[in-house]
Amino acid sequence: MAVDDTAMLALPAGELPRTDALGVFTRPRPKAGWRGWVTTVDHKKIGIMYGAAALFFFLIGGFEALLIRAQLWAPRQTLLSADQYNQVYTMHGTTMVFLVVMPIGAAFANYLMPLQIGARDVAFPRINAFSFWAFLFGGLFLNTSWIFGGGADGGWFMYAPNSGVIYSPSHGIDFWNLGLIITGIASLTGAVNLITTVINMRAPGMTLMKMPIFTWMTLVTQFLLLFAIPVITAAQFLLMFDRQFNANFFNVQQGANPLLWQHLFWVFGHPEVYLMILPAFGIVSDLLPVYSRKPIFGYTFIVFSGIAIGFMGWGVWAHHMFVSGIGPISVTVFSLTTMFIAVPTGVKILNWTATMVGGKLKFDTPMLFSIGLITMFTIGGLSGVSHSVAPSDTQQTDTYYIVAHFHYVLFGGAFLGFMGGFYFWWPKAFGYMLNEKVGKLNFWLMLIGFNLTFGPMHILGLQGMSRRIYTYDEGFGFTFWNKLATIGAFTLATSVGIFLFNIFYSYKKAKSANLACPDDPWDARTLEWISPNPTPEWNFDPIPVVTRVDDFWYRKYEETPDHRLIRIATTEEVIQRSDGTGVHLPSPSYWPIVTAFGLPIIAYGLIFTLWLALLGGIITAAGIYGWALEPPDDPDAGHGHDDHHQLDPGDDHAAAELTEGQSAGTDADAITKEMESVG
């Protein structure tokens, strides 16, 4: 069937655009059941799926961590062979970085960012679905290496030439490489999508400097992804051509300089560190004011220090290479830039502390996790300064001191922040509260377990225990602190178990006691709480008009001349209670998951037989084809019981285009709704 491309152009003349399917299928309808999840383009469902997938991978990565700790419990343990240990630690690092911390950041960004800026969805809802499925399939593909001859064994940094076929003949590294290329595609499309959303789809009145800080940090993070992911993907393509087709990019026998890989990897790898931690910084910056009951201290400084970290993060990569043989001038320069990136980070910590000063602090679980982040991240930051000093770093790098450092940053920093975020926004996403008592038990056990696991590693590193060793000898004196770390790791695992228990326990309790979820349980400040819990499908109706930072808060409270507050509205008065009638939402689609599904098949094909790659290519191409040609909207998909869609298909079509392609904020329906609300 030929595409009639004059229809849209003819619109202004009054002709009706076509509403029947251009592609093979009409758009799917289901909003519930498993098909609803598979075809969804709703940023909230996608955010939840990101979170669920990340927690699933977290359990896998955590199990790998326990294997590592069990192996190192005593000298000369034989639980794992050298080969198995190398695979397990490589997959632990890879899983935690690419399949846990990054996607949890993406989960929060997907779920919250549109809500925080007053949008009904992201800019490109189908691309958003594609990003998720590509991430999930990439992650699963990576983990199927366990059943196809073993995981990657070159470390998550995969230094050349050890990643070459001669040194690692099994397919583990191929799985690592191709799997991460796929998740890289997911991150890149996600970055384009989320950046566009923040730039274009903010509610009326929400200028950049009125955005919640989590949204700011998401924007910075996505810019980092946008520029960092292409670098690692390029490096991984080189590695792929090396391993599959003998391209000799990193083959030292043919004269390659293996430092090329290190530069490419760390030009990605260091911004990567910041894009893992910044979302958690954003979360904490949004949580602390809620529980301190006063505004964030130095909003501008917090925002700009985040941006500064984003920029400076590009100029420090070679501090991972102080001992690699780069010249003394390079070492000096990167040593100094690394020191000075501590300044904006310190500014954040001091501003968080100042936010608490003079407040009235409520120690609910999210607040405990936030303070946990501040204190634990401080330890990680200070040990970071100690190895920005290049000569000291020559004694510390590649020892357990570094392992301690980055776990204090990524677990004590990023993950504790995420945990706080989970407890804080759980009612928003799922419509029930997580139990606070269990939550506090969860926090304290996690804090104990975390410190017991990673604290001793400082000492182990200074005692000279090297990283990535599958065993050690009695005579080096590592035994005591290793035992402590192993005990800590199992305590940590228990606390994670308590978190999972809390999810099910609180759900059951809320169900059986028929507890209604309070709409504003924490007396919150940011815009996402203006809609009831759990968030309705249409997010906002009408789109709110924003006048200042913490707009939701100032709908409830007014500042008196002496800088105190009086309540001006009840929660019930400020929460939106509408049924979303007439709100137009993007329709679900089959094609994102189909397009993403072809990618791992291409990857299997590159490893086992190129015919399979052809099949995968056909699936992905078919997905793109169907995607391009499917009707922009299901004519009957208008939300609720509004029937004006049937009456006026032309308007409907134009509105759908806008919703999907541009902006819910300028959506024709929304504008009408807004006029009502403003009026």
Partner: protein, 464 residues
């Protein structure tokens, strides 16, 4: 229109924290404090363990440790200040029972002067550290024109270290140290493995590289680490103030047996070192005819697979090792340890086994003092790999026999891989039979008989 906020919602467990949780929280904070204090105590206790990175025994390591101490002290002060402030603030401004949630504290949004101050102050502290760092980086650069330094090329191989000395002709210290010419294969030069033997109190300038993957050379007591990168020569230096043995560990992940890749520096007084040099320059000793086993071992070595990779000068001279000299072995790195004077070394197989009995560990001896003999620990246990063997002591026959019997069982290696194959010996031997190239990494199991093992041990023990 004020609203009476509903009391804390106990249905979700909110409200006053119950006592057990309070106890847990207090215990957690206390435990973390104890853990921190324990770490600090351990940090200051230089326990004499061989890989301790804060136990400097030479000027380079001291340079680093001096800088390190300043940084740790500053970081410690900042840590106490920040942590103390956060905890104090959290305590002081906590919501107290009976507080009215709606009685609001003063709403402050920032303090510009403060912000600028706490941006500049850390910047200033860091600038001070920065200046010291830059000076230290310069101090740690080897001065290539410096006289009276020993020049050694250090080459990483999977999973052992090769040391090639660039020496001058002659036998006196000055001629040996100053006569270097940039090559490592002259008649007067030395090629050894696993142990870097140096004169104490003399600067040693290293050129560090690798024959296969990236390794990292690290002797914690003498200096920080430097990666051994193939196709790259990295300059580094170290110096031991006193004679002694200093252990090291490869710290860049280098594949299967990364954990088993160690090395040591043996610092000798200058006169002893000169004797050592003189001996190392000689061809291998021919065993006394009365030592029948050793003679048989020498013959076997020559005829068997050993001589396809290992050089013993005077026995397997046609093994020209190292890629720079044209690879002749089937090893990926092109090189196996030179065994010409293997019995002059204390350890073997990547310094993870003692080739000779070690001297009694002084800490252990001290611990034993006063105990009845039956309760005393063994202080010269040859299986204690952290206590390096002394070449002057008898040979540790058991370890060497076990190694020759089945090296792969003693240390994970991949000796039989083919071009695109795997480490499975059977699959590899099939492919090799079909004509594939061998690409071994490590020593294969040669299927030696007990008699052959005895003969080889007898022979190798004579190679002083």
């Amino acid at each position: 229109m004020t609203e009476q906020i509903k009391p804390a919602d106990t249905a979700f467990g909110r409200g006053r924290t119950p006592l057990p949780l309070r106890i847990l929280g207090t215990a957690a904070v206390l435990m973390i404090v104890i853990l921190l204090i324990g770490q600090i105590l351990q940090f200051w206790q230089l326990d004499g363990k061989p890989l301790n990175a804060i136990n400097a025994k030479g000027p380079q390591a001291q340079e680093i440790q001096g800088l390190n101490q300043i940084v740790f002290i500053i970081a410690g002060l900042v840590f106490v200040a920040v942590m103390g402030t956060v905890l104090l603030v959290a305590w002081k401004y906590r919501e107290r029972p009976g507080d009215d949630e709606q009685d609001f504290v003063k709403q402050t949004e920032g303090w510009f002067v403060g912000e600028v101050a706490w941006t500049i102050l850390p910047g200033f502290i860091l600038a001070v550290i920065g200046v010291m760092t830059v000076i230290s980086i310069q101090n740690l650069q080897p001065d290539q024109s410096k006289p009276d330094v020993l020049k050694v090329k250090v080459t990483g191989n999977q999973w052992w270290w090769a040391f090639d000395y660039d020496l001058g002709e002659g036998t006196d210290a000055s001629a040996i140290l100053n006569g270097h010419n940039g090559t490592y294969t002259d008649k007067q030069d030395i090629d050894t493995a696993t142990e870097l033997v140096i004169p104490a109190n003399t600067e040693v300038q290293l050129k560090i590289t690798s024959n296969d993957v990236i390794h990292s050379f690290w002797i914690p007591a003498l200096n920080g680490k430097k990666d051994a990168v193939p196709n790259l020569m990295s300059d580094w230096k170290l110096q031991a103030d006193n004679p002694g043995v200093y252990l090291g560990q490869c710290t860049e992940f280098c594949g299967l047996s990364h954990a088993n890749m160690r090395m040591l520096v043996r610092a000798l007084p200058m006169d002893e070192w000169l004797v050592w040099v003189d001996n190392q320059r000689k061809e291998s000793l021919i065993p006394d005819p009365s030592n029948v086993d050793a003679v048989a071992g020498r013959d076997y070595f020559k005829s068997a697979a050993c001589a396809q990779c290992h050089l013993i000068r005077g026995v397997s001279d046609d093994i020209v090792t190292g890629p720079e000299n044209g690879v002749k072995t089937w090893l990926v790195s092109g090189r196996a340890p030179d065994l010409t004077h293997v019995a002059s070394r204390g350890m073997f197989a990547g310094a993870i086994f003692n080739l000779h009995f070690p001297d009694p560990d002084p800490v252990c001896v001290k611990r034993n003092a006063g105990k009845p003999a039956s309760e005393q620990d063994r202080c010269d246990d040859p299986a204690d790999n952290a206590n390096p063997g002394n070449p002057a002591n008898p040979i540790n026959q058991n370890a060497l026999e076990a190694w020759l019997r089945d090296p792969v069982a003693e240390k994970p290696m991949c000796p039989n891989a083919v071009a695109l194959g795997n480490c499975d010996p059977e699959a590899a031997s099939e492919e090799i039979a079909e004509g594939a190239d061998r690409r071994g990494r490590g020593m294969p199991n040669l299927g030696l008989t007990e008699e052959q093992i005895n003969q080889l041990v007898a022979y190798l023990s004579t190679l002083k």
